[in-house]
């Protein structure tokens, strides 16, 4: 759900249900790292509600598009993390295997 004004698209508050610090803090990081963002922060209005509010103010672009781009960046980073991790595990297994072979011979 998005709270913004119709006349000024540069600033919006996004209210996300069923999310917590896990996504909000990562999104805040990605948003703050975007040069188009003037201000970004998040809050959890009440700990019993499964809801976070993310505030985005930009220097000119629509806040919604900037927020979407930030999430897209996060996804690309996650995919890269997964790929790198999988490769590191395979490499580690191979090197362990080589070590065992050397001990045997």
């Amino acid at each position: 759900m998005e709270h913004g004004s119709l006349t000024d698209l540069r600033s919006s508050t996004f209210s996300l249900t069923d999310e917590d610090h896990t996504l909000a803090n990562s999104a805040r990081f990605a948003l703050n790292k975007d040069p188009r963002v003037e201000f970004c922060g998040y809050s959890i209005p009440h700990p019993s509600d499964n809801r976070v509010n993310i505030r985005v103010q930009t220097t000119g672009d629509p806040a919604k598009e900037v927020f979407k781009d930030a999430l897209q960046d996060l996804m690309v980073m996650c995919q890269h993390v997964r790929g790198t991790f999988d490769k590191a595990v395979v490499d580690f297994r191979e090197s362990e295997h080589d070590k065992e072979m050397k001990i045997d011979s």
Partner: protein
């Protein structure tokens, strides 16, 4: 005179921060009284006045991000994750603990329990037993949903201690898998055996087929991961007869569904000797450290100096800088974007699979929000 931007002045370093700011950006300093510069600088324009771009560039992230596996066993992994922000590392940790699903015992149908362990305590103990079942093969039980072969695993526990057995222990290995579903008959009020004598008696589950006829379980029976967990101790003549139903859930609801014993990270410690520490002082420094971070090196002519040999072992107890004047020689820091990540699996999935699944969940979260906004 030609116009000159302040950024083009010869004394302004290009794309490079002065060393003290670079250290603030990449390190957390640990002083004897308190840590310094704990919060990372996220704002993209933080160093704009110095011509340094602090924004996120995906290509440079991809280039600099590294993972190095340190230890990998059946149920534990330790790896270094280098070049990532704490917010993402923490997101992965939080997802591992609270949002990755596993199968755990949720319902306990007690037919008989004459042991000294009360029913509710017994049920609580049973819930915490890790089940060796891949949660990806199961569905969540939604409200008003019946228990069927795709969302429920049924086990039976029937132990009794004979009069002359003394005392016996009921172990988790005695939980027997019932691939055909529940064997307990429901006490129905309106059933009249005379109307339909051939009807199958109604049980607490409605399986359409036997679970062991499904290809994913036929080669590998479902069972508790560890067979040596004591469920209860039975005295002579006591007995437990019950049936348990395991369902899929997440750690946020109850810790029994958490797939990790624990998952944590620490930032890489960095120990720097800012002055030469020699002879007697070197000996003193080595003996100060409880985890042997420092070693002594001979520098000839019978002189010795202290060197940092094992910075990774440092627990940042700050014992070495506690006394006066030591802070001038030893600088304790932590590398802000280097995480030593450890995952201890409870056994449902191997630890390396858990991590990739956690990353996938964060991706799904982003995907969901993007879809909702479009």
């Amino acid at each position: 005179m030609p116009r000159l931007s302040a950024l083009d002045m010869p004394d302004v370093p290009k794309a490079q921060l002065p060393p003290h700011l670079e250290q603030q950006r990449t390190r957390v300093s640990c002083k004897s009284d308190a840590p310094l510069h704990t919060e990372g600088i996220q704002y993209s324009g933080a160093y704009a006045s110095m011509g340094v771009d602090n924004s996120l560039r995906l290509d440079s992230f991809s280039k600099n991000f590294r993972v190095e596996v340190v230890r990998l066993t059946e149920d534990e992994i330790e790896f270094d994750m280098i070049g990532i922000d704490a917010s993402l590392a923490n997101a992965f940790r939080r997802i591992l603990i609270a949002e990755l699903p596993t199968m755990a015992i949720e319902k306990v149908l007690i037919a008989n329990n004459t042991s000294v362990v009360q029913d509710e305590v017994l049920a609580q103990r049973l819930g915490l037993i890790p089940i060796e079942a891949d949660p990806r093969l199961f569905e969540y039980v939604s409200e008003n949903d019946t228990a069927h072969e795709k969302n429920t695993i049924v086990f039976k526990l029937d132990v009794r201690c004979k009069k002359d057995d003394g005392r016996i222990k009921a172990k988790s290995s005695e939980l027997k898998w019932l691939p055909g579903g529940s064997e307990l008959q429901m006490a129905s009020t309106n059933s009249n055996p005379s109307t339909n004598p051939n009807a199958k008696p109604k049980t607490y589950t409605s399986f359409n087929c036997r679970q062991d006829s499904l290809p994913e379980f036929s080669h590998k029976p479902l069972r508790p991961k560890y067979g040596d967990i004591t469920i209860a101790v039975l005295g002579a003549g006591q007995a437990i007869d019950l049936e348990v139903h395991a369902v899929k859930g997440v750690g946020r609801t109850h810790a029994k569904w958490s797939p990790v014993a624990t998952a944590w990270y620490r930032m890489l410690p960095e120990v720097v000797l800012t002055q030469e520490v020699e002879d007697g002082k070197a000996e003193e420094l080595v003996s100060k450290c409880p985890v042997n971070v420092f070693d002594i090196e001979d520098i000839g002519e019978g002189r010795k100096k202290a060197v940092v040999a094992r910075p990774r072992a440092c627990t940042l107890c700050r014992e070495c800088i506690r006394e006066k004047h030591w802070e001038e020689c030893v600088d304790l820091r932590r590398v802000r974007d280097h995480f030593i990540f450890t995952i201890e699996s409870t056994g449902a999935l191997p630890p390396e699979v858990l991590f990739t699944e956690a990353v996938k969940i964060l991706e799904q979260k982003c995907e969901r929000i993007i879809a909702e906004l479009s």
